[in-house]
Amino acid sequence: MSSDPYSDRGNKDLSLGNPKGMGTATPVKPGGKAYPAVGGPFLIGENMTGGYGAGPDILHDCTIAVDRGEIAVIVGPNGAGKSTGMKAVFGMLNLREGHVKLDGEDITQLSPQDRVARGMGFVPQTSNIFTSMTVEENLEMGAFIRTDDISGTMAQIYDLFPILKEKRLQAAGELSGGQRQQVAVGRALMTQPKVLMLDEPTAGVSPIVMDELFDRIIEVARTGIPILMVEQNARQALEIADKGYVLVQGRNAYTGTGKELLNDPEVRKSFLGG
């Protein structure tokens, strides 16, 4: 048993409580301010050190960044801290050290809501759709912070992912894995983000749909939205990447352009399977 007096003491009776969908993140608290920080890439998590709650550090002096018009890809073994790094950049966990900067501002103290309002869009690796809501409602929730007319953006998403238009009145939880990923990416695009962060958008997706999704992602990037992406399909991802990061045990192991990493013998040997 843990020493935390507020943790689960083994009672799982669902007539008392409804743990499904309960938040697990310990996000940065609302009320923080952003400070000007001129220069540097469009979005950067700089020298990030931190972990979950009071637990041990998962990230150690880790830096990931993406600049305007670029696709940056993060690869690395399971448990390397790729998802943790993405969450840290989004304010879903508290950093012990380091800074997050967006578009000339230090946003380390901003809550996730405020970061959404500043134009960041994030598709997490797991639980990335509202399963009990329809596809259309998922997209609407993506646009929650917008007060203008969202029908144009929604039409664009339906153009990008035609299958979603067909299924728009169906509960998102009833879709196939690949379709869910499309809903998840669509939801994040609904804010018209200035930068898009994708954590394994192609997980559990068939090769054909995967190619398709990659094409869509490149399409989105061409519209000028910088994309920071974690990928297991390292080779394919690095091929389209302007910048690549290899994370190992929460540290930057290798950094370079996509091509450099693909041609680096060390990286090939340990992460790309020869």
Binding site: Y6, S7, D8, R9, N11, D13, L14, S15, L16, G17, N18, P19, K20, G21, M22, G23, T24, A25, T26, P27, P30, F90, M92, P112, Q113, V116, A117, F122, P124, S127, N128, I129, F130, T131, S132, M133, E137, E140, M141, G142, F144, I145, R187, T191
Partner: protein, 337 residues
């Protein structure tokens, strides 16, 4: 033929109409419970006393209005006081949330801890209400007592059986329909309502979408305060206002919410009526109806009452047990219990 009509009238008078209005009250109560369960993720044992508090404020304001000579004519003055009761109850739940529940939310406490906390809150509210208004029965009903009284009905139809339709029963049913329609429209059609469903579905993703969790929680409490006060006042008008009955009412309300499927608003409504109809039919003395319907030779000598009204609370639990045995998620597939 006449006998059959008489039987139907007697049945409506003693079973259908009372069960409809009781069911509507339970449904409103269960909706509040189910909303808290779905969005704040715990079973709120303080709901009964929240109803009592809202109803108490309404009673006090009603008395004030009555002393000023304000009235709604044939309708009870309490309807005029109801908005003030709701405001009072909203202030109460927001205060409790601020000084009690928010702390546990910040600790990310598990639902079961909230349940016990709500039990503490209920005892405090219980004391507070009795301290302010006293433990006794209070009358606050005025206006016309009947929409149709038994005597008028008999004169109108020439039937032997009378059908009484109390004003409070009419008000209960109409109010419940309006409130439920509004609530469903709100949850399914408005942006704020959808954001509440999104938060219930997946808190972290709601956060990533820019939904403010504290605002969702606040709006939920406000709605629940409204539902609780309306349910409490309607029950008080229909029966009478007595603080302790609300604490007891918690049991059938929970039974309704669970029978319908916790976390499912439609289920809460269905559950409310299932429980109400079972309670009333099981404790009703069927002799009169049976005498009309059955041939003379088979007319019953006893009251044909399955259970005395003292056991009506037990009925809720038997229904609850049966439903959970057959369909553990409740009638409308809430969370598996």
């Amino acid at each position: 033929m006449m006998d059959l009509l008489n039987a139907i009238v007697a049945l409506s008078n003693f079973v259908i109409i009372p069960a409809m209005s009781y069911g509507a009250q339970l449904a409103l109560g269960a909706l509040g419970v189910t909303l808290i369960y779905g969005i704040l993720r715990f079973s709120n044992f303080a709901h009964g006393d929240t109803m009592a508090f809202g109803a108490m404020v309404t009673v006090l304001v009603t008395w004030l209005f009555q002393s000023w000579g304000l009235s709604l004519g044939p309708l009870p003055t309490a309807l005029l006081a109801l908005p003030f009761g709701i405001l009072g109850c909203m202030a109460l739940v927001l205060t409790t949330d601020r000084i009690v529940y928010r702390f546990y939310r910040a600790q990310k406490a598990k639902p079961v801890i909230f349940v016990i906390v709500s039990l503490g809150v209920t005892f405090i509210l219980n004391g507070l209400v009795r301290f302010i208004i006293g433990p006794d029965d209070q009358r606050f009903l005025d206006g016309e007592r009947f929409i149709i009284s038994a005597r008028t009905f008999k004169e109108m139809t020439g039937l032997r059986e009378g059908l009484a339709f109390k004003t409070t029963q009419g008000i209960t049913i109409i109010t419940a329909v309006i409130v439920v329609a509004l609530l469903f429209w709100f949850l399914n059609r408005t942006r704020t309502g959808k954001s509440m469903r999104a938060y219930s579905d997946n808190e972290d993703l709601a956060l990533l979408s820019g939904i403010n969790p504290e605002r969702v929680v606040m709006i939920t409490w406000l709605i629940v305060a409204g539902l609780a006060t309306i349910a409490g006042v309607l029950y008080g008008l229909d029966k009478s206002f007595k603080p302790f009955t609300y604490f007891q009412l918690l049991l059938p309300i929970f039974a309704s919410a669970i029978v319908g499927g916790l976390g499912n608003p439609l289920g809460a409504i269905a559950g409310g009526f299932v429980i109400a109809f079972s309670e009333v039919t099981v404790t009703y003395a069927w002799k009169k109806v049976a005498t009309y319907v059955l041939p003379e030779s088979m007319a019953p000598d006893t009251l044909v009452q399955l259970m005395s009204t003292d056991y009506k609370l037990a009925v809720s639990f038997v229904i609850l047990l049966i439903v959970l045995l057959v369909k553990p998620t409740g009638l409308f597939a809430g969370k598996a219990v």
